[in-house]
Symmetry: C2
Subunit: 524 residues, 2 copies
């Protein structure tokens, strides 16, 4: 409501008008940040090291460790303080692909596009087998396969056809969409959705999950050679998932290969038509168990104001990725932008009043673990809402994790009191397309860990580009997907937000503390 009135006011008085009189933006500093960020950017160089040079950055993988080590050194070399890996708790096994070859050999040769599911084992050398269609709606039906699947390559039936992409791959927000977002009301705050574990839907889910578990166990027991499953995606783009637990105590699973829709459906059609299909495969994966700990990269520009330096502004994004490509848009983009924002602030010689800290999270893809662990260690427990003293000193957290698209505004995450402040801070970037403050929430990334303990945690609004259609968790999330101009713009705006937050007289206003869910029911 407050926000709506504000917009009415804006329409009359304009952005530089009375509504934001208290939010003075330092024009000279903004200009310096723009000059450095737009004309002397190093964001693509940073992105190159995080993607092409480091490789896939699955949680606790060698690729992630390489990127983390590079980031720690790079931030140091830019003059940041306390640049280090900070453990956030136990994660589990690292994993990487060391060989990935699979091909159809009958009725004719055809190498397939496929990626091993994360944390699945390999084939233990080259295997070759007829492809066997496994069809079972109940555990009893599995009996007919007993003793017949050892070393075999198996496929499941599916009703899936190929979902063709009929809209353009690269999308940006239209003015109408942004206006709609700007007019959105804040989502109901705090209380998480409770559910009834005895509901019919939940019972059906439990049953389906039990069947999947039974089939998985059966295939392991039968020593199946390799499971072929259909990856989402089309045109050679394949989205990847995990196929097993990363826990050091996890049960063994069968090797499983997520296969491009085209290749999967071709094999399935042939098998179902009674044609003999033979495949060969050689998959090698490596588990890394020497250190089960998870780490975040952190580094600081220390505050210089005697009183305010105890207060901290944080920016971040997750550095870990899925394993099918180099996680360029998810989320080397956000990581590179946040590193670049820190570089910009150092490059212009900024001596902030408050302390500025960057964090590059890990294990975001498994459940925001890196940021949750960090928040638990520093700020409090969202389950009990027991808060630590540092919770009071965290001014704001800004996150970037929605791909390569430029910043179009910011989600208030219901913290409507921050709206007029951010509106004023966005004003100098109208020419760069960043204008929209929305009271609504966005989810699925690390600002939620902060939000969960009552801290002002914000994710920027970003143009979608091809995040949903092509890159998000796919085998095509590579450096080429990065849009240089968009990343420069984003780093410039983030640097400016950080500057303004640091120099502001007061901390960013907070919304009410969330209520922990009732103990009697669960959450999901």
């Amino acid at each position: 409501m407050k926000l709506k009135l504000l917009y009415t006011c804006m329409a009359i008085t304009g952005l530089a008008g009375t509504a934001f009189a208290q939010e003075t933006v330092d024009q000279a500093a903004t200009q310096k940040i723009r000059e450095e960020g737009l004309n002397h950017s190093k964001v693509m160089e940073t992105a190159f090291y995080l993607t092409d040079v480091s490789g896939p950055r699955l949680a606790n993988s060698p690729g992630l460790k390489k990127a983390q080590a590079w980031a720690v050194n790079q931030l140091k070399s830019w003059g940041l303080s306390n640049s280090k890996l900070e453990p956030w708790g136990k994660f589990g096994k690292g994993w990487e692909v060391q060989k990935n070859y699979a091909a159809v050999t009958l009725p004719y040769y055809h190498a397939i596009i496929a990626i091993p599911k994360a944390w699945t084992p390999g084939t233990n050398g080259a295997i070759k087998s007829e492809v066997v269609l496994v069809k079972a709606d109940s555990v009893a039906e599995l009996d007919k396969y007993k003793g017949k699947l050892a070393g075999k390559i198996v496929i499941f039936d599916t009703q899936n056809t190929l979902k063709r992409i009929t809209k353009p791959d690269l999308e940006r927000y239209t003015d109408e969409q942004l206006a709609e977002m700007a007019a959105a009301k804040p989502a109901a705050a705090g209380q998480r959705r409770a559910f009834d574990p005895n509901s019919p839907q939940f019972a059906a889910m439990r049953k389906a999950r039990a069947m999947r578990t039974a089939i998985s166990q059966f295939l392991v027991d039968e020593k199946v050679g390799l499971i072929i499953s259909q990856g989402r995606g089309t045109d050679g783009t394949t989205f990847t998932t995990n196929g097993a637990s990363y826990a050091d105590t996890a049960k063994a699973v069968a090797p499983e290969l997520e296969t491009s829709g085209e290749d999967y459906l071709r094999i399935l059609r042939l098998v179902k038509a009674g044609q003999k299909v033979e495949m060969e495969a050689d998959i090698k994966t490596q588990f890394i168990t020497d250190d089960l700990q998870g780490y975040n990269v952190v580094a600081e520009i220390p505050g210089t104001d005697k009183k305010l330096k105890e207060q901290v502004i944080m920016i971040g994004g997750h550095l870990d990725s899925w394993h099918g490509a180099t996680g360029a848009t998810d989320n080397a983009a956000g990581s590179a932008v946040m590193m670049e924002a820190m570089r910009i602030l150092k490059a212009i010689g900024f001596k902030p009043k408050r302390t500025i800290r960057i964090a590059l999270w890990s294990s975001e893809e498994q459940g925001l673990f890196g940021s949750r662990g960090y928040v638990a260690a520093h700020f409090g427990d969202p389950k009990t809402m027991e808060l630590k003293p540092e919770q009071k000193t965290l001014d704001a957290y800004y996150n970037l994790d929605n791909g390569t698209g430029k910043i179009r505004g910011i989600y208030l995450q219901g913290d409507t009191a921050a709206g007029p402040i951010f509106q004023a801070w966005l004003a100098p970037f109208k020419d760069l397309g960043a204008t929209t403050v929305t009271a609504s929430n966005t989810g699925g990334t690390d600002h939620q860990s902060f939000d969960a303990v009552g801290l002002p945690g914000f994710q920027f609004i970003q143009d979608a580009m091809d995040y949903g259609t092509r890159t998000h968790h796919s085998n095509q999330d590579t450096y080429d997907r990065l849009s240089e101009d968009d990343l420069k713009q984003a780093a410039t705006i983030v640097a400016s937000f950080v500057y303004n937050t640091s120099e502001r007289k007061d901390m960013i206003p907070r919304k009410a503390l969330p209520t922990p869910p009732p103990a009697a029911t669960g959450t999901r």
Copy 2:
């Protein structure tokens, strides 16, 4: 001009009006054809055997031979006569991929999406090597690589970035586009474009070609292990080409792998940044030299009219494809539709006056060789315009080779006298979106072989769908790209056109014979 007046007339009198009074369409036959083609179609079953079951159908490959043999039998089983392979002349070697594995192993493991260039040799077993960037603008500059490339995997520099697709993949003609086509004037007929072999452009082309040849020879002499080159395409879609001559007398070339844009550019960026990149590859290709002859599939429904049965209507499309996928839209689609049109005519018990012949061409992709050879053997020589007696008896040839899109009309290829006839024949298919007769030409496929010797050869107008963006010569041209409703529509319309051509009192009017080009200059 004539055509334009006709359209004016149509606008006033309507399609069933006086303008086409002489072109009576048999409504009952049309209804039977529609019923069989739209409601009892076997076109997807046919397409399945031509694609999934047969595999890639490169000229003279085992895949093409399998599809040809299947088609001969299938046409026989539908009751067609004289179903056989007809040799059209010497083509050259067959070729197929028997192993295709390549991966980056340093700085981290990553299997790449890549297809061997057609008619290139394999790596003669597994190889592993640092990737070497070869940069040479002149033959002299190659010297620095002398003695250093044996067994090495090499890459060339490029200015290419990745061309992202910003428009929707699946496109259909709009009413405006169709109206524009309908209003087009016929292209200048007959005379082919002459060129001056002494022009500066041609000299530059010659020089560039000579440099490419010199580099190729150098790499063969140096016994290079494998060349990595950038395939056109994005998102895992890679377009394939040939890398060597199919002639039995062709010189040896180096193994060459056409690599997805994303993989190629990643390797190139790393190498150019001074990062050590290592790859492993195991490519096996097989040359088939036991029969260098090329063959077309032909089959007939014999004419029943004492006089007219000597006259022949032909329909066709090329059955051969490129090797990166199963050539579904290029051109199993056209082949399946033409086979289905013949099946429909048999299924409705049609006893045509004239003889109806289907031809599924081969080696279209290398230069319309199958249809050219057929035309040379039966109808005449386009170079001299010496014609054979059969030239007089070929009524019309209808071709389909523009992907999976439904028929929206027909190109007259300048034969404007046929315009009113086809307009009348399309009238019963207005509800299926086929309305447009354009005087203009279309090129690149087998109707040109007929057109070149003064025969009425026509290609239908088809919706583009994703032919240009995804399928045409790509590794993604698979069965999944086929649009069932579109293929059914096309087969129905082709069957109806054939019916009408067979039963028409007169043959399709012809345009003037083309003039052979002046002997003094060449053509291209």
